[in-house]
Assembly symmetry: C3
Amino acid sequence: MHVTAQELCNYLNGKLEGNPNAVVNRPAKIEEGEYGTVSFIAHPKYEDYAYTTQASVLLVSHDFKPEKPVTATLIRVENVYACVGTLLQKFNGRKYRNEGVDSQASVHSTADIADNVSVGAFCYIGSNTKIGSGSVIYPQVFLGDNVVIGENVILYPGVRILHDCKIGDHTIIHSNTVIGSDGFGFSPNGDGTYSKIPQIGHVVVGKGVEIGANNVIDRATMGATQIKDGVKLDNLIQVAHNVEVGQNTVIAAQTGIAGSTKIGNNCMIGGQVGFVGHIEVADGSKIQAQSGVARSIKEEGKAWHGSPAFAYNSFMRSQVVFRKLPEMAKQIAALEAKLASLTTKD
Amino acid sequence: MHVTAQELCNYLNGKLEGNPNAVVNRPAKIEEGEYGTVSFIAHPKYEDYAYTTQASVLLVSHDFKPEKPVTATLIRVENVYACVGTLLQKFNGRKYRNEGVDSQASVHSTADIADNVSVGAFCYIGSNTKIGSGSVIYPQVFLGDNVVIGENVILYPGVRILHDCKIGDHTIIHSNTVIGSDGFGFSPNGDGTYSKIPQIGHVVVGKGVEIGANNVIDRATMGATQIKDGVKLDNLIQVAHNVEVGQNTVIAAQTGIAGSTKIGNNCMIGGQVGFVGHIEVADGSKIQAQSGVARSIKEEGKAWHGSPAFAYNSFMRSQVVFRKLPEMAKQIAALEAKLASLTTKD
Amino acid sequence: MHVTAQELCNYLNGKLEGNPNAVVNRPAKIEEGEYGTVSFIAHPKYEDYAYTTQASVLLVSHDFKPEKPVTATLIRVENVYACVGTLLQKFNGRKYRNEGVDSQASVHSTADIADNVSVGAFCYIGSNTKIGSGSVIYPQVFLGDNVVIGENVILYPGVRILHDCKIGDHTIIHSNTVIGSDGFGFSPNGDGTYSKIPQIGHVVVGKGVEIGANNVIDRATMGATQIKDGVKLDNLIQVAHNVEVGQNTVIAAQTGIAGSTKIGNNCMIGGQVGFVGHIEVADGSKIQAQSGVARSIKEEGKAWHGSPAFAYNSFMRSQVVFRKLPEMAKQIAALEAKLASLTTKD
């Protein structure tokens, strides 16, 4: 695809400075901007690249004031970061060949698959399972019995959705993620052994959700583990039985949420965070990476850090002192010695 | 399935209070208890729900003394939590259609599969591999060469068991777990590069084990990585080569155990814990979530916390002071100032 | 396979002491050394086993001076650990039956597969995808469109390599690892919801790389996520979009690297480490397990620990004091009391 700077500028509702006929064929990061690419400066720390980049076109904000000459054609826009998304959409060539249900898929006779659905080779579709219009099921996916897949869902290769689970419209699930494995529930028998507690619930994933690769979302013991509309989960995340993740909450990779915990709406959760079970986390909470949340969080919109986690600012202040602990120990010893000598002197 | 309160009471060996003819069709958590459900109070903190729940039947302990009127029929039992397991078993409708070996499975001619075994579509069964009576191999499972699967084993979709590994009777392995991938062993060549150390051992999983989804258990360099009888592993757990996990030990999600470490029997290990390699952890150890165990633990039955981990109570006491470090730094500065002025005065 | 001590000695360029005709059929760890096995002492802490082992042959270093009689035939070598690798290679019986492209694989008509390649049952090979000579693709692997697999690559069952990704020669990827899932990029819409930023880049994996099981390496937003030659990744590792991992860097299990971070060459990174996004880590850095790297590391070859991480030695010194914090708090209180009484006395 070849596009002129002027065409891009119109497409992005920007303001052009420079050669409107410059031609680009793909977007590139500013460090990798070659002739024929369109690049962008979404953060001031990258501004220096503006003067050296080979990119033919550069998206910048209205505020950008070059301190040196810039050879690229500039397109000034309101929100550079948002425009990058629009730009990538324009250049996104990904197409899945819709070839209906592959002859090498195994589809139960009672499954109900809408007309314009792709089901790839080596998919297994169980009894009474429904797949809504426009959905793309890549090869090698497993859908158990009584599964409901909404419309325009994308399931990448190796996704496993066990019996009775539901996936909402426009949701995307990446490769090798497991939805509806048994919750981790055992009752001790008194002799050291455990008996399995059957997990007879399911998982309900809302609309417009994106779930990364190699995640696990366990089914509820009874009732439903719930991932609400608009949630974004990164990779390798653990969601235990009966957990609820509130609308539009975003969770980075390798975080784990123990059983029955409820995460509020619009939370931002870093990577490798752990939540103990049976707690509630207020809407808008921000949890720093690697934190361990051991208690319910009741105040909305606050930032937390540490393991066990407490208020972000307090943690950072404690952490600064932590680095000086050996020095502090010496100060105390010195004080004790001084005071002892003082007392002796007295 | 519809059951009367009296039938449930008999089934659970309980004591009934209220309407013996109340009918229920499924279990529900107390917060979600609707008309026609049987719910339960397994922990005092949920007692308030007893007075407002719409559940038709309620399991409670013999000790439960209602402070307000309860409309549900009560079934009093010795151990509510254990009875919930029994109850779920009664309502557990999960059935896998035993259809023998699917025509779309790839089974090597030398594989030895007992008569009443299910092997789903798109399974690959290698040479000389044995599957014992009553086992259910869901679709899309891989069993390499010389694998031994015991009796009444359940392998969920996407499980990969590489060559030479053994799985004991009554063991359950959830989706996309990998057993027998190569241990992580390399020897440095002196020029910065590494040579692979062949991993010629295998993995032996005992009886009555449950292994969650997306776990990885690497094969031993030589000999066996061992998961002993009755072990319960949650999801996304890493077990490195030559590790041993002792009988009835329970490990929560996202924990990792480095090479050659031996975890004792009856341990309880939280989520996101890390163990360094080549250590031993005594029987009955309790490791708090997110701890890092960097040394062998010799005393049995103790609790540990922190990274590096030390005695749980000590950690918690240190952690309390950690939060006050900035204040403590000020106290020391004040002491120094005071003492300096005192000395000057002198 | 049966080998005499003399044959082994010649094979390893060692120096023999004892019976040159002792016969062994497999290697064993020293704790498990039985009659007919060859074992080794690679670390002084295992020396005591030399006097009690039943192993028929023992590899030891030239420095080893037995303090008691040893019954095993000794083979003295320069570098025991390296010889163990050579030894395991000799006994490594793993063979994949090269059976060409399985009739139950789904291969697009435009795929370009070299002659002596194995493609197992239930593999899906997309359009324009190339597989180089000598590569082994185990069953149930997914290769999307325009994928390039080099020569002598091994892909274990359940590996998913999405469109446009490239894998270098002699690289090994273990089961259920995902390469080329979408990077985690969303732009906020202002009303709490997010829009997906298309991820139109890819992943480039170098030569001689080994990637463990259940890893995830996301594709770049634009450009490439890069795993350079000779990198070794353990299991369950997260590599976000646009990350670069430098040559011969070794990363232990469950570590996560956030977007656009560049890890240098020859780094050694422990398990469960987290790296924030957009930082650079100097060549030769050593990061202790469970650390959280929150800033760029500019000095080469240093060791780091903690979350947030700082210099390893400093961390360890602070950690020692951390354990004494409750005592320290008492010391300060005592100092304050003493000083107060002193001041009063004055």
